[in-house]
């Protein structure tokens, strides 16, 4: 006999385990009874065969040890995540080398892969004490998506494809790390600037992609919350930005010093 229990899953009365589709969960132990054997990749909807199969768990992230435990329930954080089918929560994965963003639904299917970039401007208007510089591109890591029901979860909705953020607004992430090593508040995923290279156009820290990508994320998130953004292979981009930013800062410091000397010289002349 089965009855609905933890996260509305059926509980087997004989074993006391909850059925999650892919595997059984032991409420007594707080863990799955078998490892997550989802291989990732894309499944042909007509033949059911894997078109592309990965050997590692697509959710696994070396910087997030919780993702490496194949027996854990939602990274041991049940207050934050749910797991509708026994696999990990849905994920957005940005690849800084391939310049793509991939949306993996919570059932493990790939909703799509789209062009994306994390090209970041050097300058931006900042608050006091920040010297008009951005914090650069996002460092590799797994960051939580701002929940859709939180105040200000989506901003800048309703622009055009050529506007700064595009028509679908920003999917925010929390606690992202910038190239400067500091927390990058307000970062996220958005489209826009389609007339200027779209995904490759500069941002103030965000990942820029296509309008179709953000639209799909918003559609999927409406029924199946997208909980994390995983940034991977972005180290080269981060290093390149750091080098350019250092050169710009040095040039500007040198120009300021030259200006200071010129003024001092002018004053001495008078």
């Amino acid at each position: 006999m089965r009855q609905d229990k933890f996260t509305s899953k059926e509980r087997d009365s004989e074993t006391g385990l909850d059925y999650f589709g892919a595997r059984y969960f032991s409420a007594a132990q707080g863990r799955f009874t078998s490892p997550d054997e989802f291989k990732g990749g894309i499944v042909d909807p007509f033949t059911g065969q894997d078109i592309e199969t990965n050997t590692a768990l697509p959710y696994a992230d070396i910087t997030d040890p919780q993702t490496l435990d194949k027996y854990a329930y939602v990274r041991n954080n049940p207050l934050r995540y749910i797991d509708p089918d026994g696999h990990a929560p849905s994920d957005l994965v940005y690849d800084g080398e391939a310049h793509t963003v991939t949306l993996i639904r919570s059932d493990g299917t790939v909703a799509g892969t789209w062009p994306a970039g994390n090209n970041v401007a050097i300058h931006a208007p900042t608050g006091e004490g920040n010297g008009s510089y951005t914090k650069g591109p996002i460092q590799d890591g797994t960051y939580q998506v701002r929940p859709a029901d939180q105040h200000g979860a989506r901003t800048h909705l309703g622009g055009t494809d050529n506007s700064a953020f595009g028509p679908q607004g920003i999917v925010h992430m929390e606690g992202a790390q910038g190239a400067t090593g500091q927390t990058l508040s307000g970062a996220g995923l958005h489209s826009g600037r389609a007339n200027r290279g779209g995904p490759q156009a500069n941002t103030a820290g965000c990942i820029r992609t296509t309008t179709e990508a953000v639209q799909t994320v918003n559609q999927v998130a409406a029924a199946d919350p997208v909980t994390t953004v995983r940034v991977s292979n972005n180290a080269r981009n981060v290093a390149s930005w750091q080098a350019r930013a250092a050169a710009v800062r040095a040039a500007e410091a040198s120009a300021r010093e030259a200006e200071r000397r010129r003024r001092a010289h002018d004053q001495a002349q008078h």
Binding site: A121, I122, H123, A124, P125, T126, G127, E128, N130, G131, S132, T134, K135, H151, G152, T155, H156, N162, S163, A164, F165, I170, H172, G175, Q182, T183, L184, S185, G186, A187, G188, R193, R196, A201, N202, T203, A204, G205, C206
Partner: protein, 169 residues
């Protein structure tokens, strides 16, 4: 009046003075504490001052130069925010391109607040529409610069030129 009642009256007066001083001090310090706590609760700490929560959405409500200065004054303690920075850059570029004639309304603030001037110059960057950068490079030198803002006007053009170069790299 007995010695005892005099002492009691003194204690009462002294208590009232102390209480008054405490209230005055609190009233005086309250705005300072507010500013300090806003400044202290930067995003780097993972905690943001309550006022900063609306920083991202409010970029959409800035429509003129005085509005930009109010936005700056309200959020300058909030630290860097990628969403707000990109949104307000778009606003600043559009103000320079479309509302140049009203720049004089914040001439005093640009002259007296170095932070505000840096903020506006920071808004002309490689995230903004390249058409706007082109207009700034080509048109601003021909436009009348408000009195006292010659350095600012020149810097705007330099910043637009640099941003165009950064965009094309």
């Amino acid at each position: 009046m007995t010695k005892h009642s005099i002492n009691r009256a003194r204690r009462a007066t002294s208590g009232a003075v102390s209480a008054g001083l405490a209230i005055t001090t609190l009233l005086f310090l309250q705005p300072i504490c507010h500013v300090l706590s806003a400044a202290a609760q930067t995003p780097q700490d993972g905690k943001r001052a309550p006022v900063c929560a609306s920083q991202e959405q409010d970029t959409e409500h800035v429509g003129d130069w005085p509005g930009l200065h109010s936005y700056y004054a309200r959020y300058k303690h909030c630290g860097f925010n990628a969403d707000a920075a990109e949104g307000i850059s778009e606003v600043i570029a559009k103000l320079v391109v479309n509302r140049w004639g009203d720049l004089g309304t914040v001439a005093h603030e640009l002259q007296t607040e170095q932070g505000f001037m840096r903020y506006v110059l920071g808004g002309v960057n490689s995230t903004v529409d390249e058409n706007d950068l082109n207009v700034i490079v080509q048109e601003v030198p021909k436009r009348k610069c408000p009195i006292g803002l010659a350095t600012f006007c020149k810097s705007l053009v330099v910043r637009a030129r640099q941003s165009k170069k950064e965009t094309n790299n």
